[in-house]
Every structure is written in structure tokens, then in C-alpha cells.
């Protein structure tokens, strides 16, 4: 299913009962709150242990977007779920490093390694 508002577009893929991927397309700003949280709700089932964010289609992120990811991380932790990410280019990896999100969200190079990491 697709959650699209403005310039944000989120798609959810259920890999299995324990793992889901949220494909993030376009922008993450404060205006992306509803599509991102709706996508997380769709990705998150009773048995979900890991939610993986696919940032391959991320085109723009401002500081409001970082705030959203912090909020998402809190929600995932509350559900005892791991939050992981892949598809970040060097620029966005640096932003995760700057804001120290990389210490709380597992960063992987691609989907295969993120899925392997989620099951480890």
C-alpha cells in the first residue's frame, strides 16, 4: 500500500511476520509525519521485530525530518522493535552521523544486508 502526501511517498513491503520494509520516496520533512507514521503503523504488526527503512529514493531531508525519525525510533523502541536503514548515500549517512542517529538505527548498505542484520 502507498501513503503519499505532498512530496513524500511511502510504500510498505511485508517480508515476513517479523520484518517489514518501508520504502521512503521523495522528501522527509515535518510535513511527512502522517505518511511516515501511517506507513510505520502498516509495517508494524503484533509479531514484527524489525522495521527497515529503505532510503534509496530519498531526495530531500531537512531538520524536521530528523525530528520525525527520532519520534519513529522512540515508537519502535517502545514496541521492542529494531529500526534499521539502507540506501543512504554518503550525504545522508553524514547527516545520520552528525545527528548520531547512526548509533540508534542500524545502517546497512543494501536490502540483503539489512534483512540479514534484522534476523541476526
Amino acid at each position: 500500500m502507498t501513503q503519499a502526501v505532498g512530496k513524500s511517498d511511502m510504500r510498505v513491503r511485508r517480508i515476513d511476520d517479523h520484518t517489514s520494509i518501508v520504502e521512503v520516496r521523495g522528501e522527509i520533512t515535518a510535513a511527512s509525519e502522517k505518511p511516515l507514521m501511517d506507513a510505520y503503523a502498516e509495517a508494524s504488526g503484533a509479531k514484527t521485530r524489525a522495521v527497515i527503512l529503505d532510503f534509496d529514493g530519498l531526495e530531500y531531508m531537512n531538520s524536521g525530518g530528523i525530528g520525525l525519525l527520532v519520534t519513529l525510533l522512540v515508537r519502535a523502541n517502545r514496541q521492542k522493535q529494531r529500526l534499521a536503514a539502507f540506501g543512504l548515500n554518503e550525504h545522508y549517512r553524514q547527516i545520520f552521523e552528525l545527528t548520531r542517529l547512526d548509533e540508534a538505527i542500524g545502517i546497512f548498505d543494501d536490502e540483503a544486508s539489512a534483512l540479514a542484520g534484522a534476523k541476526a
Binding site: 515535518a30 532510503f55 534509496d56 531526495e59 530531500y60 531531508m61 531537512n62 531538520s63 524536521g64 530528523i66 525530528g67 527520532v70 519520534t71 525510533l73 522512540v74 523502541n77 517502545r78 540506501g87 543512504l88 548515500n89 554518503e90 550525504h91 545522508y92 553524514q94 547527516i95 552521523e97 552528525l98 545527528t99 548520531r100 542517529l101 547512526d102 548509533e103 540508534a104 538505527i105 542500524g106 545502517i107 546497512f108 548498505d109 543494501d110 540483503a112 544486508s113 540479514a116 542484520g117
Partner: protein
């Protein structure tokens, strides 16, 4: 936590329109000189994220209408260059003359009732035409991003907004936040008064609206050790030494 798989291909690097708006990552804050500032608890400190803080996580949003004679871009431009002027009496921010820009460090000298001046700072992590954001170093009362922005509301008025997503950084700051007068005065009043001053500078005498939500009630005891860097304690311990040096 960073996990990378050997041999995997990283996403391709392409120029992004947000590239110039973000600061580059820094392992530790560099020493800066700002004339007249009590400069301590900044150089060599790491930036502290909300996940690295101790107390309950709050999302606090303060906003004020400043009228329709100024655009969000004009407002942010003025706010970035005259940031410290809008702070209430007793609280001082020392920024470079050019104002707020990604990667710049601001020094804070804060007055807390009954204590010596507390010295800490911020790193400007993001700045564009309609917003800018800070993160604070170890020892600062709060851990997490702080964003200043402007937009036009449904009535056509330009609105200035401050939004925090922060935890108290250590148990002592958490305790201070729980004390009604001290906690309010240390942070919430700061932004209420700042927005009032900002609006008044544009001739608007408007009420500040606020929304405070506790996003996470849990305290992160693993980060209780942050108290080692507490800027209030360190500023207090350093005060006699500074007096001795002056003599």
C-alpha cells in the same frame, strides 16, 4: 551502531538540494572564540542526541504570529543574524558576526537563579531560508534537536516557531526540570519570551501558543553518567578559579 556488509555497494552519491544546508559531522566540537563570552564546556565535547540523553523525551512547540508584513524568509534571515538579541535578559548567546550558518558553534552564557553563570553552547546542524536547527554538546541541560522555523498560517500571517525534541541530559538536569519554577524558567520561559521579543520587533504584540507533549516517559538510566559533563556543575566549580585568575 553502524553495520556494513563487506563488498556491498553503497547508494550512489548525487548532489542533493539540501546539501549546503547541513553541517558536516564533527567528532568533537572545536574551540571557538567569541568576544565577551565565558567560554567553557564546549571545546572537545561531543554532540548529544536525544537517544543519548537521560530524562523523559518531550516535544515542545512554541509559536507566535508576527503579522503579514514580513515573509517567513525575511523573518528567518533576521532571526539568524540577530538571534541573541531576542533572548530574555540574563541569557546570552554568542554567535559569529555573520550569524547562524551550518557548522557554526554558538556559546551560551545562561543565568540560573542562585548559581554562577552556566557556560555551554550549541552546534548549528542545519540552516535554510525558512528554518535552522541546533544540537547541544555533552553537559548542556538538554539533548536533542531544536528547530526554529517560520511559515504562513491559514490566516495569511507569518508564524515564528520553536520546536524542541529533547530530554534532560542527566539526572540533575531532569530533577531541575521537575522543579516547577526552575524548570519552567530554564527552558519554556526562554522560548516564550524569545518569541514575544521577536514578534515585538516586528510590531506584533501577540500571544505565544504552546504545545508540550511527553513522547517518551522512560528515563534512560544507562545515560545517568552524563552528569560527569554537567555544564552547571562544571561552571560552578570553575567560578572560584576564574575569580582567582582575574586577581
Amino acid at each position: 551502531m553502524e553495520e556494513r556488509t563487506e563488498g556491498a555497494t553503497a547508494a550512489t552519491a548525487a548532489p542533493r538540494r539540501d546539501t549546503g544546508h547541513w553541517a558536516k559531522p564533527v567528532a568533537r566540537l572545536a574551540a571557538v572564540e567569541r568576544g565577551g563570552a565565558l567560554n567553557a564546556n564546549v571545546a572537545g565535547r561531543r554532540i548529544n542526541a536525544a537517544a543519548g540523553g537521560f530524562g523523559r523525551l518531550f516535544q515542545k512547540t512554541f509559536s507566535v504570529q508576527v503579522g503579514s508584513s514580513v515573509t517567513p524568509q525575511e523573518l528567518i534571515s533576521i532571526w539568524k543574524t540577530r538571534f541573541g538579541e531576542f533572548w530574555p535578559k540574563g541569557q546570552r548567546m554568542f554567535l559569529p558576526a555573520s550569524g547562524i550558518a551550518p557548522g557554526e558553534v554558538g556559546l551560551i552564557n545562561a543565568s540560573i537563579p542562585g548559581t554562577p553563570t552556566m557556560a555551554t553552547g550549541v552546534l548549528v546542524i542545519y540552516a535554510d531560508d525558512e528554518s535552522f536547527s541546533f544540537m547541544s554538546p555533552e553537559g548542556h541541560p538538554f539533548a536533542g534537536p531544536l528547530t526554529f522555523s517560520a511559515h504562513v498560517d491559514e490566516f495569511g500571517f507569518t508564524v515564528a516557531q520553536v520546536q524542541e525534541l529533547t530530554r534532560a541530559s542527566d539526572p540533575l538536569w531532569e530533577l531541575a526540570m521537575m522543579l516547577p519554577i526552575l524548570g519552567e524558567r530554564m527552558q519554556n520561559d526562554l522560548w516564550r519570551q524569545t518569541l514575544r521579543n521577536l514578534a515585538l520587533s516586528f510590531g506584533a504584540d501577540a500571544n505565544v501558543h504552546e504545545r508540550i507533549v511527553c513522547v517518551d516517559k522512560r528515563r534512560q538510566w544507562k545515560n545517568a553518567k552524563n552528569i560527569f559533563y554537567n555544564a552547571g556543575i562544571r561552571s560552578g566549580l570553575g567560578a572560584p578559579l576564574r575569580l582567582f585568575r582575574r586577581r
